[in-house]
Structure formats: structure tokens, C-alpha cells
Amino acid sequence: MTVISNVTCPVCGSLCDDLEIEVEGNNITNVRNACGMGESKFLGYASHRPSNPLVRKNGELVKATMTEAVRKSAEILANASYPILYGWSNTSCEALSAGIELAEEVGGVIDNTSTVCHGPSVLSIQDVGFSTCTLGQVRHRADLVLYWGSNPWSAHPRHIERYTNFTEGRFRHSEWHRYISTLSAYRSKKRAERACKLTEEIHEAAAETSTVLEQPRRLPSSLYEKERKMIVVDVRRTRSADIADCFLQVEPNKDYEIFQALRSLLRDEELQVDSVGGVSVEVLEDLVDVLVGCEFGVLFFGVGLTMSEGKLRNIEAGISLIRDLNQYTKFMIMPMRGHYNVTGANVVSTWQTGYPFAVDMSQGYPRYNPGETSVVDILSRGESDAALIVASDPVAHFPRESVKNLVAKPLIVIDPERNATSLFADVIFPCAVAGVEAEGTAYRMDRVPLPLKQLVKPPKSCLSDQEILCRILREARRIKKKAGEAMANG
């Protein structure tokens, strides 16, 4: 039995790299330091992986050799006029690099999951910029942390303990004692309330109160202290809200207004209304005082902002607020990236093509116009005529119209799991799981690159994504060269 330490977890954007994995023979038997998601991935990866490549013949998926599957895929892509290559966020940078070269060779569009997630954040950055840092800066310096439209307790479980309020920093102490007590107190309160309800008659009033937003009348005094503080802003109470010093419940789709209101208040302007987004102006004024009064603040935001009404405008407003705050104090903003390597997908795509996602290579050079060149939109207009899906499941996540057009055309899937997309595939490559069975590089949500390790060997039929893509590329090149020669010879 060997213990492999300093293992990077290939699940969420927190990209924790302190995991310890016990391996016996070629099996992972124990995982230490991981959160529930990480542990379940290491202990249960590729549980339904096909043991061989599969190719659809006469409507049925049948076993095929690697060579056959590669040839079929290369044919599909090389002969397509406008293929799309999508996914990428759950695999290594090296795989994406091969994918970009393939997309360039076949004149396709290469896009990653940013397009349905933090794409709006990227677009906002391109409009107004971004004031950010690596997570260690937050750990050492931040005395005010806001999670807005993001629920780290559930989605990035170790984020708070590794990077924000439960960490020990050079200039700040950990606040976990205080939070655990707060949490206990809150839970006790809830228990007591529930006990009361059970012994009382249930009135209609109870139903009414649920529409009233949960909000403090003024912000709690703990927000004005020097220690680490946490504020959670969301449309519903989440587990993260339970441990925050302050939870602000806001109306859905009103974040843009709230950010702009905060910016106005920061400039000492008077608001003509009593509340914005369900938050009273008094509370907003208090909030501005808290924001300005901290020594180092950071706003983490999630899909609550990127995919609600306003999308990139929400982020723009948030970034602008943070930028304005830097006139008074040090303030940072950071997106809570979901997939463990979506950041890597953006980073590699940007350095090789100049653009972070939705890159159209059909003209022979990179073109970028989200809305036109983004895969969801291309599919909804039915413009693509083939697709290669790597490390993602668009059939499960894309709008219906896009899915209809995706499955109507030849579809190649590279994935270690059977998923909704693979049900419709014409070629399936079961691949090695990056970070478990294949090594590579991934980038954390704050753009810090970390190595992915190979802990166990994959089955012989399962190559790494990178290797599969390289083979398809070689074959596609061969096909195109032959076609070119045939044309030249008349």
C-alpha cells in the first residue's frame, strides 16, 4: 500500500492540492483531506465506463478498435464544414492544447463550458477590467469576504477553510471558533422555533412570511470589527448563509440595481427610492460603510450573478463597484469557477488563439464573437454539421433546441463516464480520468497552475484525452492531405 501525497483534486475550481491518496495495487482505497465531492470522485471514478471504444453501426453502438474509432472520428471531423469541439473543462490543459490544434486543422469551432457558466464574467472583464489576486492574498490579508450568488459551503466545500475565513493568515486569524458558535446558536434557535411551531396551530400567516425577504434592519455590529467577517448575499438562505456574520436576502434578478445603488452611495449620492432589490437603503448605506471600512475586502461571485437577468452587466457592475472601492481601500473580486479546469481552458485558449472561449477557426484564423461563435448559439441555429464533445455533457445541460441539433448530426464523445450525451453518440472513446489515471496541468479559479497526478493506471483500452485527440488529429491531417492531393490531380 502506498500513500501518494500532495495530490490535486480534479473536481471543483478550488483545486485543493493537499490530498493524500492510498493506493493498493492499482486501486484507490482511501482518500484524506478531500471534501465529499473529491472523495467520491477518487473512490468511484469511471464506474460506468465502457471497456472499449464504441462505434454506431446500423443504429446500434458496437465495440470497435481504437484504430477504427479514430478513423471514423477523423473522417467525421475532416469532412464536416463547420464542426464544433466542445467541453474541455473537466480535463487537462494538454488535452485542450491538442483539441485546439485539431479544431484549427478541421476548421471548426472550439468552445468550453464558460459559454454556459462564467462566460459573462469573461465578457465583463473584456469590457471593464478586473481587480483580483491569488487566493493566498485573501488568506493572509482579507478581513471582509463576500459571497454573492455563490454557495461555497455546498459547491466549493473547502473554499472557506483553505482560502478565506477559516484559515490562519499572516495578518489575520482564523475565525472558525466564532463561526462554529454562531452556527450552533443559529441551529439551536431554529430547533426551538420548530418546536414552538409543532406545539402551536399552524396559521396562514406562516405562509405569508415566506415571501418576506430575510433581512436585518441594520447590519450586525460584528461587521465593524477588525477580525475576519463574512457576508453572504443570495436570493435564498443557503448553508453558507448559516455561517456568515450577515446574510442579505435579495430579490432575484435585481443584483445589477443593487451594485449600481452601492456605487451611487459610495459617491455620496442620494437614492430616490426606499429600497433596491428588496434591500432597504439604510442597510445599503451600512453596507457601503462596511465595504469602505475594511482593510482588504474580496467579493466572490458565482452563477447567481452570471446567469440571472443582466448576466454580464451584473458582473460589470460588480467589477466597477470593486474598482471604485479601490479608491478607498483594497478590494478584490473573484469568480467562483465550477469545473476544476475551466480556468485552464480559458487560459490555454487565450494564449494559443488570443480568445478565452467560443473560438471559430473556420476561416483559417481565430475569430471570437460570443453569440455568433458560441456553441449553444451555433447549435440553436442548426449551423454545425458535426460535434466532438470532450469532458462535458451538453445533452444534459443545453437548451432543448440546441440539443436537438446536436444529436441530429454526427457526434463523437470522449468521456470516462456514460452520460446523456454519449447515449446519442456515433463514436465513444472511454478515456483515462485526468488527475486520477492520467497526468496533466490544471488551473485553479485564481489562475494558479497545479499538476495533476497519475495515481493508478487506466485500462489498456482507455487512453488519455490528449492521446486520443492527437491520434484523431494525425488521421484528420492524413485525410485532408489525401483529399488535397486528389483535388490537385484533378
Binding site: G129, L135, G136, W351
Partner: protein, 566 residues
């Protein structure tokens, strides 16, 4: 292996004293040799053309997190400038921050064969090397940013030079770096809480150390480690009117640390940005005369221009506080990225306008410096790409260096106030091709300590640039446009003895190597690692093992072992 004969060109090889002599060059197995034996050799006819060593760029931001953040920030810059895929080259985009493949191809087309990435945040070194791996055609190296690193500040504050040196030696190997880079020393740590330092004797908050102590400390560390290049310094107060005084103080503060063999101990980079006189933007003027006077009388300093070109570009430096000020001045979109324990970065798009008194004065300052500093071996041509201008404008700058008329023509089109204050009308000096070869290759290679670069003597790497301009027929002073055209697209670029560019087209894509330094410490110093490992978890949010860039991560690693005094 391949043999190459470059026939009959006018060779400029200043490191070997060759000044436009018509001669043949021989290359075999990637190196310059004194004769060829084989019958099979490729022949390049360089008759009527200038032959120089391949270009060496000592300071150009081409790879890494802030360069990439710049690329991401500016899709509007990329749309204007695309590179389609060819059967030999990858596609890409350009202008002020080209994508990586395009960067390599464009440098090669200019006849450059070695480029230094001057600002590598150590934590993000892996990213820098991944981008360098994807930058073809040129040999590369990167300088780790060390002036605000806690592991440097702490021992220097206690005066423990050897401990600091042991750390720097470890960091150089762990990040596969080449030289010690300082940017606004002390200021970046202060920027961690939104502050800055005001001069070299200001105290860095929380660390009780001054920029002077950091600069002197790292200068002494550099000497103990015998690193091939001197410390490479972006001064405090960069871009601030009146900062020429800080620049002088910075150069003075290490005067006594210059060894008797008179190798320079400090390189002040993009000197133009640190040569501002005046109290504010109203009274702003050139401090080039004062700076040049100091550089002329003190041999321990080397410098590079940081020349402005009137164009739209993107500023990007590790100087977070300065970039914030630039944002406040220009109101352009602003990106900031502070890196834990180590450094920071800022990016702001910027347009230099002829009509702006300040920009036009900056343009004049760069040229004044290049022309007033007498020793071409200590003043190199750069634009701090892309800060003062993208590197594709090098041929334009060359034309200003070799031709007074070229300078005058542009001077007549700039802000009147700047024109009247400019020193350029009083300067007749015009660079010769020999001096140009020093300023764009020989001098840079010498300063960097790259023994096999920047010259064409036997044993040098066979990196050769051939430019189609005949020095016997063309008078660069009057025919500067011919010179500019010739240097814009090399007739031939030869890398390791292979023809890679012909008539400005990439004919053979090659990968370059990544150079890095491996300082050898005495056995007693190896104990730094356990202490470092312990502190790691307290400081960083990544594990010690994962921080180190494995050598195999570099596609073509070229380590240089160095014996140290530690």
C-alpha cells in the same frame, strides 16, 4: 548534421570586433565553425547584405499570467491583426499582445533568435513555461520576480545575505529562472494593502525594510551566486514626474558593490520611464541629460531604452500601484492581479499620441537616452514590449537611431511644446550599423552573460540574421526607409544553423530552448529546503512539491550550472 555556408555578406560581429567586413561564415551542427569539410552544405548568398548575429531582446513581455490577462483583455486589439494558418505555421492573432505562436514567428521574421521574458511571478512559473513552450522559433528565458518575496524580505531585513542567497538559488532552480528581477522593490508588498513606497528609503509596511536594503541585498546575493546577468531593476516611482532622482539614487546605492573586474552589477530597465523630471504633469520634462551623465561616468550600470512609439498598445508590468495610477489617468479598463507572498501585476490599454505633450516628451526621452549615453555596450534598444510599443515597431526605432532626419521628421509632427523642449535637435549622433548590432544583439547578450549568443565567433550558436541592405551603397542617415524596410523582414533568419525564415516568411518552424540557471550550493546550504518546506504551508496556498516546476515540463530545457560562493 547540417552544414551551412553564409557567403560574402557584410558581417557585423562587435563582440569579436568585426565591423562590416566582407566574409564567409560557416555553421555545422548548430554552431559556428571555422571551416566546413563536407561536400553537402547549404549555401546562402549574402552578397550585398548585412549579416549580424540573431537579435537578442533583453526585456519583452511575451509569456505568463499577466501577458495572458492582457491578451484576454483586448479582443478588440486582436480583431485588427490576424495570422491565418499555413501548412507550416499555426494561426494566431497579433498587435500589441500576440498569441504565442504568432509571437515566435514575428520575432523570427525580424531576425531575432533569443528573447527574455523579464517578469515571472515564481508561484506562476509553470504558466510562464507553458507559454514559452508554445512560443516557437526563439530561445527564451524568464526572470523570477523576487524583490517583494517574503522569503527574500525576511532574511534581508535581518542582514542575512547568505540565507537570502540560498533561497534565491532554490527559487531560480524551482522556477527554472535565469536572473533576479526587481520591480518597484518594496512597493509591491505595500500594494498588498493598497499602498506604495515613496522613495528608496521609505519603509515597507509590516516588513521594516527599505527598497535600498532590498536592492543592495539582492545585488550582493547576485554576486554570491555568480548569476550570468546582473540584477534587473524596474525602479521605484516609475512613471512619476521627478522620478529621475529615484533612478539616480537606485544606481548610486549599489556603486560600492561593483567588483574590481568592472562587470556591471545593476541593469536598469526601460530607462525612459524612470527619466522624468518636473514636479507634476504640468512641469514635466526630460531628465535624460542627468541620467545619461551618470551612466556615462559610472561603469557599473547597464540600461535599455523602453522607447515609446506613437501607437495604441497595452501596458503591463508587475508594478501594481503604478498601473493603478495609469488607470486613474487614462480611465481605460484596468486589470490587477496580486500574487500571494511574491508580487503583483497590472494591465491598462494605452495610446501614445503625438499631440500629447507628455507622450511626445516620453518619445523624445527614450531617444535622448540612446543618443546621449556614449557607450553602446551599456544601452540597448527595447520598447519594454508592449508597454512603450509592440516589438513589431523595432525597425521604426532603428530608423530613428541611424538617421537624424528620420527623428526630425517625426519631431516636427509632435506637440509643439514637446518639440521646443526636446534635446533631439541638438543631437547629431547617428548609430552606425556596428553600434546597432551592439544595441540589438551583442550588448544584450553580453549583459545577459549568454556566452554563445550575440556573436558569430567559433563556438557561438549559429543564430544569424541577414538583412537586405547594402552598407556600402545605402546611407542610413538619408535612406532610413530602406534600412527600416530591410530590418522589418529579414532576408534570412538562421537558427542553430537552419534557415527558418526566408524573405520574411517562416519556412521551417522550429522550437527554441528555454535557458535557466542552476546554482550549485555547498552541501551545508542544502538544509534550506526543510526550513523552506515548513514555512511553505504557512505562507502559500499550494504544496511545496507542487510549486516546483519539474524540468521535464520545459519542452526543451537548457540548464546552465553555476558555481556559487554559498
Amino acid at each position: 548534421m547540417a552544414e551551412l555556408l553564409v557567403k560574402n555578406g557584410f558581417v557585423y560581429d562587435p563582440l569579436n570586433g568585426v565591423n562590416g567586413e566582407k566574409m564567409d561564415l560557416f555553421a555545422k551542427d548548430g554552431k559556428i565553425v571555422d571551416k566546413l569539410n563536407g561536400r553537402r552544405k547549404r549555401i546562402v548568398d549574402a552578397s550585398g547584405m548585412i549579416v549580424m548575429p540573431g537579435g537578442v531582446d533583453i526585456h519583452s513581455h511575451i509569456a505568463g499570467p499577466k501577458v495572458n490577462a492582457g491578451r484576454l483583455l483586448r479582443p478588440e486589439d486582436h480583431y485588427r491583426d490576424v495570422e491565418p494558418k499555413t501548412d507550416k505555421t499555426r494561426s494566431g492573432v497579433g498587435r500589441s499582445i500576440p498569441s504565442t505562436f504568432t509571437t515566435g514567428y514575428r520575432y523570427a521574421r525580424l531576425g531575432y533568435t533569443t528573447v527574455m521574458e523579464p517578469a515571472m511571478p515564481p508561484l506562476l512559473a509553470r504558466h510562464v513555461h507553458e507559454e514559452l513552450n508554445d512560443t516557437p522559433m526563439i530561445d527564451k528565458a524568464a526572470f523570477p520576480l523576487l524583490s517583494d518575496c517574503w522569503f527574500v524580505l525576511e532574511p534581508l531585513q535581518k542582514g542575512l545575505i547568505e540565507e537570502a542567497a540560498a533561497y534565491v538559488a532554490w527559487a531560480m532552480e524551482a522556477t527554472r529562472g535565469y536572473a533576479i528581477k526587481l520591480v518597484n522593490p518594496g512597493g509591491l508588498e505595500a500594494w498588498g494593502f493598497g499602498r506604495n513606497v515613496r522613495n528608496i528609503d521609505d519603509t515597507v509596511p509590516h516588513f521594516n525594510i527599505t527598497p535600498r536594503e532590498i536592492i543592495r541585498g539582492l545585488c550582493r546575493v547576485n554576486r554570491l551566486l555568480h548569476l550570468p546577468h546582473s540584477i534587473h531593476v524596474h525602479t521605484n516611482n516609475l512613471g512619476k514626474p521627478g522620478n529621475y532622482e529615484t533612478c539616480l539614487e537606485t544606481m548610486k546605492c549599489v556603486e560600492d558593490l561593483a567588483p574590481s573586474d568592472s562587470r556591471p552589477v545593476i541593469h536598469v530597465t526601460h530607462l525612459q520611464f524612470s527619466s522624468f523630471k518636473g514636479d507634476d504633469w504640468q512641469t514635466f520634462e526630460s531628465g535624460a541629460e542627468e541620467i545619461a551623465r551618470y551612466v556615462n561616468t559610472h561603469n557599473h550600470v547597464t540600461t535599455d531604452m523602453g522607447q515609446v512609439v506613437f501607437t495604441d498598445t497595452t501596458t503591463m508590468t508587475a508594478d501594481g500601484p503604478f498601473q493603478y495610477i495609469l488607470y486613474q489617468l487614462s480611465h481605460n479598463k484596468w486589470v490587477n492581479n496580486d500574487v500571494e507572498i511574491e508580487t503583483s501585476a497590472g494591465i491598462v490599454p494605452f495610446t501614445y499620441k503625438r499631440s500629447s505633450f507628455v507622450h511626445a516628451t516620453q518619445w523624445s526621452i527614450g531617444l535622448e537616452l540612446a543618443l546621449l549615453v556614449n557607450d553602446p555596450w551599456r544601452m540597448y534598444m527595447t520598447t519594454d514590449h508592449p508597454n512603450a510599443a509592440p516589438f513589431i515597431f523595432y525597425p521604426k526605432i532603428i530608423s530613428w537611431l541611424v538617421s537624424r532626419i528620420a527623428r526630425e521628421k517625426l519631431l516636427n509632427k509632435v506637440s509643439k511644446r514637446a518639440r521646443h523642449k526636446s534635446l533631439l535637435p541638438t543631437i547629431d549622433r547617428e548609430y552606425t550599423f556596428y553600434e546597432l548590432a551592439i544595441a540589438t544583439r551583442a550588448g544584450q547578450a553580453k549583459s545577459l552573460g549568454l556566452k554563445d549568443k550575440g556573436h558569430l565567433g567559433v563556438g557561438a550558436d549559429a543564430d544569424i540574421a541577414i538583412y537586405n541592405v547594402n552598407p556600402e551603397e545605402v546611407d542610413p542617415s538619408k535612406q532610413y526607409k530602406r534600412v527600416r524596410k530591410a530590418f522589418k523582414n529579414a532576408e534570412y533568419t538562421i537558427k542553430d544553423g537552419q534557415i527558418v525564415v526566408k524573405k520574411g516568411e517562416v519556412v521551417k518552424p522550429v522550437d527554441g530552448r528555454i535557458f535557466w540557471v542552476k546554482p550549485e550550493l555547498s552541501s551545508s546550504r542544502m538544509e534550506i529546503s526543510p526550513k523552506l518546506k515548513e514555512a511553505f504551508e504557512d505562507y502559500y496556498t499550494v504544496q511545496y512539491e507542487n510549486y516546483i516546476v519539474p524540468e521535464h515540463h520545459l519542452a526543451h530545457s537548457h540548464p546552465i550550472s553555476i558555481k556559487t560562493e554559498v
